[in-house]
Symmetry: C2
């Protein structure tokens, strides 16, 4: 029984890997069980057995993408030293995930605009994920204030807003405009954000890049 469950889980994971990759191209709305059957070599009825409905599939795609993003960007960054190094680490990993066209990170970003006007459980799930992400960034920034590295009068939620804007501008400039300067511009924007956030009573830290 355990062996069967494991095989079922492996099949489900393999389908979801294909589904996330397809979603990067065509969006959650463009994802069809028919195309996915072709991509995976499975029957549509076999896919229905795993997900039941297109909505269940879309929710599973979001969960898979969010887990990939958390595993490659957010959780590793939480191991960096608290304060500015942690913010930089998060930003660097996030930019790398955009540069590499990592499917999970791209789906989380792209689904944000796709679903914003489509009320329902899929939008609710994505909104909850983005609120959690904004909350995590806000707490990372607040940690920098506690450490004394960042200005005491800083609004951490504002920095989270600003940082998400840099990431969105990077994805746009890299992925749509095909601009080779996208990464450098994004790093400069992060540098400027951190420079403005830094506690002015501290000496300027050694430049790391």
């Amino acid at each position: 029984m355990i062996g069967t469950a494991t095989k079922g889980q492996r099949t489900r994971d393999a389908i979801l890997t294909q589904a996330v990759a397809a979603t990067v191209r065509v969006g959650l709305g463009g994802l069809t069980l028919g195309d996915l059957a072709t991509d995976t070599g499975m029957s549509k009825s076999g896919l229905y057995a795993h997900f039941g409905s297109k909505e269940q599939l879309q929710l599973a795609v979001l969960d898979t993408a969010a887990e990939e993003f958390a595993a490659t960007v957010v959780r590793p960054a939480l191991h960096a030293p608290r304060g500015e190094p942690r913010i930089r680490d998060l930003a660097d990993r996030w930019l790398a995930c955009g540069l590499d066209r990592s499917p999970g990170g791209c789906v989380i970003v792209k689904a944000g605009t796709e679903l914003d006007d489509q009320p329902g459980p899929v939008r609710d799930r994505l909104r909850a994920m983005h609120l959690e992400l904004a909350d995590t960034i806000t707490r990372i920034v607040a940690g920098g204030i506690t450490e004394g590295q960042l200005r005491a009068d800083l609004d951490p939620a504002q920095v989270a807003f600003d940082l998400y804007g840099v990431m969105l501008a990077f994805f746009h400039t890299h992925r749509l405009l095909d601009d080779p300067h996208a990464h450098a511009r994004a790093r400069r924007a992060v540098d400027a954000l951190l420079a403005a956030a830094r506690n002015p009573t501290l000496p300027t830290p050694e430049t790391t890049r």
Copy 2:
């Protein structure tokens, strides 16, 4: 003949108004001639007569959205005094278009992530529009340097990148997160961008808000 042409043009415009509104919800990929026939009360064959193909319809939707965005945001801003007032005017109009959920502006923003991984004429058209927009913002910022209001060592293309990031973060925070502070955060981000860009040899301008 002229009367007929005008009627055809009016019908085409009415179809495109519906099509842009539908695109805000479902994206360019989700736009179907079938749904549009239902929305407009026309036959699918009547719609084919106007657009020929889904791709032609998508291109016409982008052109319509871009014209609305240019008419309500970009062209009026070019009448504001050169330099910082023009940047502020552009930003204020852009934020207003997001707050009002103006269909044209939203389509231009949303299509950016939808199409970034879908090579073809529709992506090419959108990319050209966004490059033109980035170029316009860059020239508006460069005008502020020429006027002496902004720092001579400023990189206008970087400011255009940064400003687009603020707008994307605003759309995300307002439209997906439903955050009532989205507008205030975006204005604060624009203020910070302009404060960092300002020529330090000039006296601080009177605060306008």
